[in-house]
C-alpha cells in the first residue's frame, strides 16, 4: 500500500471516530443536564463550557457568556471551525476520496451518504430543535461505517491502518471525555462542596458519553463512583470503549503491519506494546492519586505512537 494513501486511510479512521465522540458528547451532556440533580449541573453555561473543554477549546474567561446557538453551530456545523463535526466528516470523506481505489464501493457510498447528510442538514433546525436528531444520526451513521469497514474490506493492511486510526482516536477521545467530566466534577464540587449524588450524576453522564453506562451497571451492579468509573473506562479490557481495549486493538493491528517476532526498539510496534503494558498493570488507585498527571501522560503516549507511525509507515 502507498504510504500516502495509508496516511489518508489512517486519518479517515480518526475523523470518523472523532465525529462520533463529539456528537455523542454534545447531545448526552446537553440532554442529561436538563434534569440534573443539582442546580449547578443544570446551568446551561456550565454545559456549554464543558463542550468547549472537550473539543480542546476551553473558555478561559469565567465571565464570558456563551451564546448557545452560536456554540452549537460552531461545534456541529461550522465548516470554518476545525473541530466541528462537519469539518471532521468533510475530512473523512476527503481522505476516503484519495483512497477510493482501495476501499470498497459500499464503504465509499456510506461515507458519501454520511457527508451529504451533514452537508444538507438545515442549520437553523439544528441549532434550535435538531441537536438530538442530528447527533443521533451522526452516531448511527458512524456505526454503519464501522460495520462497512469491518464487513466489506479485506482484513489486511488497509483494514489494519484504518483500525489503527480509529482506535488511537477512540483512546484519545475517551481520555479527553474523562478529563472533561473530571473537570466538571471538580467545578461542581467547588459549588456544592461535597462529594455527593451530583458527582455520581456527572459520572453517569461520562459513562453515557462513552456509550458504556449499561455495560458498567451490568458489571458493577451499583451506581458509579470515581473509582469504579475510571477503572471501567480505562482498565477493563472487556469494555469495548475502554482505553486498554483500544490499546489491545492497536496492538493487534500493528502486528498485521509489523510481523517481526521481536520488534525493534525504535519501531511503532515496540512502543505500542510498551504503552499497553504500562497500562495493563496499573491499579486504579494509582490513577486516582493523580488523575491529571495520568491523563497528560497517556495523551502524550498516544501522540508518540501516532508520530512513530507517521515516521515508520507514512513517509512519502
Amino acid at each position: 500500500m502507498l504510504a500516502r494513501v495509508a496516511n489518508n486511510l489512517y486519518w479517515m479512521g480518526r475523523y470518523i471516530e472523532r465525529s462520533e465522540h463529539v456528537a455523542r458528547f454534545m447531545h448526552v451532556n446537553y440532554f442529561s443536564s436538563l434534569d440534573a440533580p443539582n442546580e449547578h449541573s443544570q446551568k446551561r453555561q456550565f454545559v456549554l463550557r464543558s463542550m468547549r473543554f472537550m473539543v480542546g477549546d476551553p473558555v478561559s474567561d469565567p465571565n464570558e457568556v456563551l451564546d448557545e446557538e452560536q456554540l452549537l453551530y460552531n461545534l456541529g456545523m461550522n465548516p470554518d471551525i476545525p473541530y466541528s463535526i462537519i469539518s471532521n466528516v468533510q475530512w473523512a470523506r476527503e481522505n476516503a476520496n484519495s483512497a477510493r481505489d482501495l476501499i470498497s464501493t459500499e464503504l465509499y457510498e456510506a461515507i458519501n451518504k454520511f457527508y451529504h447528510f451533514v452537508l444538507n442538514y438545515d442549520v437553523d433546525l439544528f441549532v434550535k430543535r435538531g441537536l438530538y436528531d442530528f447527533c443521533v444520526n451522526i452516531t448511527e451513521m458512524t456505526t454503519i461505517l464501522r460495520g462497512k469497514i469491518r464487513g466489506t474490506l479485506l482484513h489486511d493492511e488497509v483494514y489494519a491502518i484504518i483500525m489503527m486510526g480509529m482506535n488511537l482516536e477512540r483512546a484519545t477521545q475517551i481520555i479527553r471525555i474523562i478529563y472533561t467530566k473530571y473537570n466538571d466534577v471538580l467545578l461542581a464540587r467547588g459549588v456544592t462542596g461535597t462529594e455527593d449524588a451530583g458527582q455520581s450524576f456527572e459520572w453517569v453522564t461520562l459513562l453515557k458519553c462513552a456509550e458504556s453506562y449499561d455495560m458498567m451497571r451490568r458489571f458493577y451492579k451499583k451506581a458509579p463512583n470515581t473509582s469504579s468509573t475510571l477503572e471501567f473506562l480505562i482498565l477493563n479490557p472487556d469494555c469495548p470503549r475502554s482505553v486498554i481495549n483500544s490499546l489491545n486493538q492497536i496492538t493487534k493491528h500493528i502486528n498485521v503491519l509489523d510481523q517481526s517476532k521481536n520488534p525493534k526498539k525504535d519501531s511503532t510496534a515496540f512502543l505500542v506494546e510498551k504503552v499497553r503494558a504500562d497500562l495493563k498493570f496499573k491499579y486504579v488507585e494509582e490513577i486516582h492519586e493523580d488523575i491529571r498527571n495520568f491523563i497528560e501522560t497517556k495523551l502524550n503516549d498516544l501522540v508518540n505512537i501516532a508520530q512513530k507511525m507517521e515516521k515508520e509507515y507514512f513517509n512519502y
Binding site: 502507498l2 476520496n97 477510493r100 481505489d101
Partner: protein, 492 residues
C-alpha cells in the same frame, strides 16, 4: 407491429430531416428497439420520472459527480444520465469494431514511422509541416522503441451517424481519452433501475474493460520482468476525471498513484509504500506527456516524476500511452487518416472520415469556394473550435470575407461538409416527455502486444439542449447506456 398506445412516447415529435435511431423514416420502430419499446411502453411518465430519480440518486451516492463552484458554496452535480438506452445491432457493431481496430493499428504504425524512418513523410503522403508544427511531436521519442512496439495502447474514437445513416469518425482521441468509467456506471445505474428489461435483451457486458486493460498493460511489460507491477498515475483527486482514475485502478486491482508517490533511482521507478520502495513496471498515465517528468519536459510540473523519462528510455518501465502519441491526435492528422490507413495497411478505411477538402489543392479549393454554404471551413492550426465558419449560418458579406481569406492563404484552411448527428429519444426533465436529441458515440479500443480489444458498448453522449450538436459534458451534455446486442435472434 408497434403502435403508439405507448404512453411515454405519445407526445414524441419527429423531425423528418433528422436520422432517428429508434424510428425509421416511416415513423415505425426499428427492429432492434422493438422489444425495449414495448417494455418501456408499460411505464407511465410518472413511473419513468421515479425511476429516473432513483438512477440519479445512485450516481450521487456513489460520488460520481463533478463540482460546481458557486459564490458561497461548492455544489456537487451528477452528469445527466438518460434511462432510455441506445441499442446497436450485432452487424452494425461489427462494422464499428473492425473500423476502430483498423484506425488504432494504422495510428500505431504511423507513430512508429514518424518516430523512426519517417517514410510516410519522405514519400510525400503526409506533409512534414503537420508534425513539425505540433508541440506533441517529441524530439525525445526519436528512434526510441516503446515496449511491444505500441504507442497508443488506449484510444477513444468519436463516431457519429450522419443523416445518410452511415457512421463517420469525427475524432481519434489517443492522449488520455476518458469516459469509460461512465459506460460502466451507466450500465450499473440502468440495471438498478430497470433490471427487468435485461431479462429480455441480450446485451454484451461492459465490465470486462478493466480486465482487458490490465492484460494489455501487462503485455507491454519491460524485458526481464515476470509479473509486472502495474499502476495508474493521476494528477490527483481534484482532477475532473479522478473518479475514472480511481475506478480503473480499483477495477484492475492496482495502485492509484500520484507523481509524489513515485521516485526514480538508477533509472528504475519505485513507489513509496508502507513497507518501503516497491518497483513499478508499467504505468497507465492519466497525466499529459509534457507533465510526466520535470527534468525532461515542463520543468514547472509538480505532477510528474523527475527521471521517469530516462527510466522509460532505458526500457525499465513502460508508459501507456507512450509519450508523444498526442501528435497523431490532431485535427490535421485526422484529415489524412484514409491515406494513413491505405499506406500502412493497404486497406480502405472501414469507418468513413468526414470528407476533407484541402484548400492548398487547386481543384479542391475551387470546390470549396463554389460550395461554401454547404461546408464548414476550419483553419488547420487552431484548436478548441476557434476560427470555424459554418457555411449555412453566414451572411452574404461574411461569406465573401471568408472566401477572400481562403484565397489569400489557401494552405491554412480545410473544409468539410456540414455533418448532422443522428437523434435519439431522450427524456427531458423540463417538458416531462421524450424529445429528439443529437447523440454521438465514443468507443474504447485497446492495443497491446499481439492483442486488441474494443469494448462492446461505449459512451453515447447526448446534447441536452434542443438542436445543439455539441455533446461534450463540459457543454451540458449527458449520456446514455449503450447496448451492443449479442445476436440477431430477436430484436430488443
Amino acid at each position: 407491429m408497434i403502435t403508439t398506445n405507448n404512453q411515454i412516447f405519445a407526445s414524441y415529435q419527429k423531425d423528418p430531416t433528422l436520422f432517428d435511431e429508434v424510428f425509421d423514416a416511416q415513423g415505425e420502430v426499428r427492429e432492434v428497439y422493438e422489444k425495449l419499446f414495448e417494455l418501456y411502453g408499460n411505464h407511465t411518465i410518472s413511473n419513468y420520472v421515479q425511476l429516473n430519480n432513483k438512477a440519479k440518486a445512485s450516481f450521487f451516492n456513489q460520488g460520481i459527480t463533478f463540482q460546481v463552484y458557486g459564490e458561497h458554496e461548492t455544489k456537487e452535480k451528477i452528469f445527466p444520465f438518460d434511462l432510455f438506452p441506445r441499442i446497436i445491432g450485432p452487424a452494425e457493431w461489427d462494422h464499428i469494431e473492425k473500423g476502430a481496430i483498423q484506425r488504432s493499428r494504422a495510428l500505431n504504425l504511423f507513430l512508429w514511422d514518424i518516430y523512426h524512418e519517417k517514410k510516410i513523410i519522405k514519400d510525400g503522403i503526409v506533409p512534414l509541416e503537420l508534425l513539425s508544427s505540433s508541440a506533441n511531436y517529441l524530439h525525445q521519442m526519436f528512434d526510441l522503441d516503446p515496449p511491444g512496439g505500441i504507442y497508443n495502447h488506449i484510444s477513444g474514437t468519436d463516431i457519429i451517424k450522419h443523416a445518410d445513416g452511415q457512421y463517420y469518425v469525427l475524432e481519434d482521441n489517443i492522449r488520455c481519452p476518458s469516459g469509460v468509467s461512465y459506460v460502466v456506471c451507466n450500465r450499473t445505474a440502468l440495471k438498478r433501475a430497470l433490471f427487468g428489461v435485461f431479462n429480455h435483451c441480450q446485451a454484451h457486458t461492459v465490465t470486462n474493460y478493466a480486465e482487458n486493460l490490465l492484460e494489455i498493460l501487462e503485455s507491454v511489460k519491460p524485458q526481464g520482468v515476470d509479473i509486472p507491477n502495474v499502476v495508474v498515475i493521476t494528477p490527483g483527486m481534484y482532477n475532473s476525471a479522478y473518479y475514472e482514475h480511481s475506478y480503473l485502478a480499483k477495477a484492475m486491482g492496482v495502485e492509484l498513484v500520484e507523481g509524489r508517490d513515485l521516485f526514480v533511482e538508477n533509472d528504475f521507478v519505485y513507489m513509496k509504500t508502507i513497507k518501503g520502495p516497491e518497483r513499478v513496471d508499467v504505468i497507465y498515465r492519466r497525466v499529459d506527456d509534457l507533465f510526466i517528468d520535470p527534468l525532461e519536459f515542463r520543468p514547472d510540473s509538480a505532477l510528474g516524476v523527475p527521471g521517469l523519462f530516462a527510466a522509460y528510455r532505458k526500457g525499465n518501465v513502460c508508459l501507456a500511452n507512450a509519450p508523444g502519441t498526442g501528435v497523431a491526435d490532431d485535427k490535421a492528422v485526422y484529415t489524412y487518416m484514409p491515406e494513413i490507413i491505405k499506406y500502412y495497411l493497404d486497406e480502405s478505411p472501414i469507418l468513413k472520415n468526414v470528407h476533407t477538402y484541402h484548400c492548398n489543392r487547386p481543384e479542391e479549393l475551387r470546390y470549396v469556394l463554389e460550395h461554401i454554404t454547404e461546408l464548414v471551413v476550419k483553419p488547420v492550426d487552431e484548436s478548441g473550435g476557434y476560427g470555424i465558419s459554418i457555411g449555412n449560418r453566414l451572411s452574404k458579406a461574411e461569406i465573401a470575407a471568408v472566401k477572400e481569406q481562403i484565397k489569400k492563404e489557401p494552405r491554412k484552411y480545410i473544409a468539410q461538409p456540414i455533418m448532422s448527428l443522428s437523434v435519439h429519444p431522450t427524456y427531458i426533465d423540463e417538458s416531462e416527455s421524450f424529445e429528439q436529441r443529437h447523440v454521438d458515440l465514443r468507443t474504447f479500443t485497446l492495443l497491446g502486444k499481439d492483442k486488441e480489444f474494443v469494448l462492446k458498448g461505449g459512451l453515447s453522449r447526448v446534447a441536452l439542449k434542443k438542436g445543439n450538436l455539441v455533446v461534450n459534458s463540459s457543454q451540458g451534455g449527458g449520456s446514455k447506456d449503450t447496448w451492443v446486442l449479442k445476436n440477431d435472434q430477436g430484436p430488443c
